[in-house]
Symmetry: C2
């Protein structure tokens, strides 16, 4: 094995560009220019552009999931095998929100890259992405333990809504700022996390009786 310098330079440059501009707009020539390496280096080190994307995604996916599971595990151990639902949700949405929001200069390129990856549907990633279901299932399990009276359906919907609020807020953060004329402060990450967790908790705990949500306005 040699210096590895070129490899890592390519990975870093690619992640940065993808995070900023999306997959469709970034060409191999953009990447090698940013990394100050030769055009052929990508194919030499990674085989193809798709394999480069895949490697990037797999690496980051593992890292993000590990961070979330670390928080989840800590919460469950602290509660003797059963963590409060707020802490579970916190472990679910916290890492991603922290990486993507907050003051611009301290946002994680990796997290923004992952959001891009979860939004756009480039073939090599779509294939890998199904593995994440197993990861989410672990959270569903923890939520079931935290709310044993809740039906599975409600658990999954709550999980879905929690991820929905986190991801959408990241994705549309610019528009939300403009819409609210700056009143919604997306730099205060912990406030955003708390809001998402709070609403998701309500979704999961409110109105124990109803299997379906109230539908008095569902006439139409």
């Amino acid at each position: 094995m040699a210096s590895d310098h070129t490899r890592t330079a390519i990975l870093a440059a690619a992640e940065r560009l993808y995070a900023d501009r999306g997959f469709g707009d970034v060409t191999l020539r953009d990447i090698v220019a940013e990394a100050n390496v030769n055009l052929a280096a990508v194919n030499y080190h990674f085989g193809s552009k798709d394999e480069l994307i895949a490697e990037l995604f797999v690496t980051r996916s593992i890292a993000t999931n590990r961070e979330r599971l670390r928080e989840l595990k800590a919460a469950e151990e602290q509660g003797g095998g059963r963590a409060p639902i707020e802490m579970i949700l916190h472990a679910l949405v916290g890492p991603t929100l922290r990486g993507c929001l907050g003051p611009e200069n301290q946002r994680s390129t990796a997290a923004r890259f992952m959001i891009r990856a979860s939004i756009e549907s480039v073939p090599p990633i779509r294939r890998i992405k199904n593995r994440e279901i197993d990861h989410l299932r672990k959270f569903a399990g923890a939520m079931r333990r935290a709310l044993p009276d809740r039906s599975d359906v409600d658990i999954y919907w709550g999980l879905n809504f929690a991820l929905a609020m986190a991801h959408h807020t990241i994705r549309e953060s610019e528009r939300l700022t403009k819409l609210s004329e700056g009143k919604c402060d997306l730099d205060d990450v912990e406030d955003v996390v708390a809001r998402v967790v709070s609403v998701a908790t309500m979704a999961l705990t409110a109105g124990k009786a109803e299997t379906k949500a109230p539908s008095k306005v569902a006439a139409r």
Copy 2:
């Protein structure tokens, strides 16, 4: 003006393909093949590929917004200028969810196209998309009238979360079905709408006292 047949055939084919495969993967040659017209027809009738996308987006955007505002207006008139918050949220997320979920054969191509458009960031659309802020502001206004005690910040966050749940559920519907092993029934559109409206309503009405969401777990 002539038959217009070619124009409309192109629009229909483009919308269908974009809805299915996204903007990045659909080429002009795909479109003209699907529409059974000559390659040069797109440039002749629309000027460029971007103008075709823009026309499609503008047309559909107007239609969707009109439908949402129609429901909103009806709700407000029925309530004498102040609609219940559930109905406002229903008007906000109902039309989109109905167009994108439900039995496969009756999903609206137009609605799926709009979701694609809101996800991917193709230049001609990004430019137009900022107009939608004015549209959302009308809903924010109605929500303020429905909840006069609520702060603007909370209103905007509630609006954001409602859209978040609707869009994310559409986007990740396949994964939610797989994750829940079919327990979450995405064909029952009115149930989905009711769930989203219910959670969004809770987010907007719960815990009047707190300005910020509870943050007892926000340690870290």
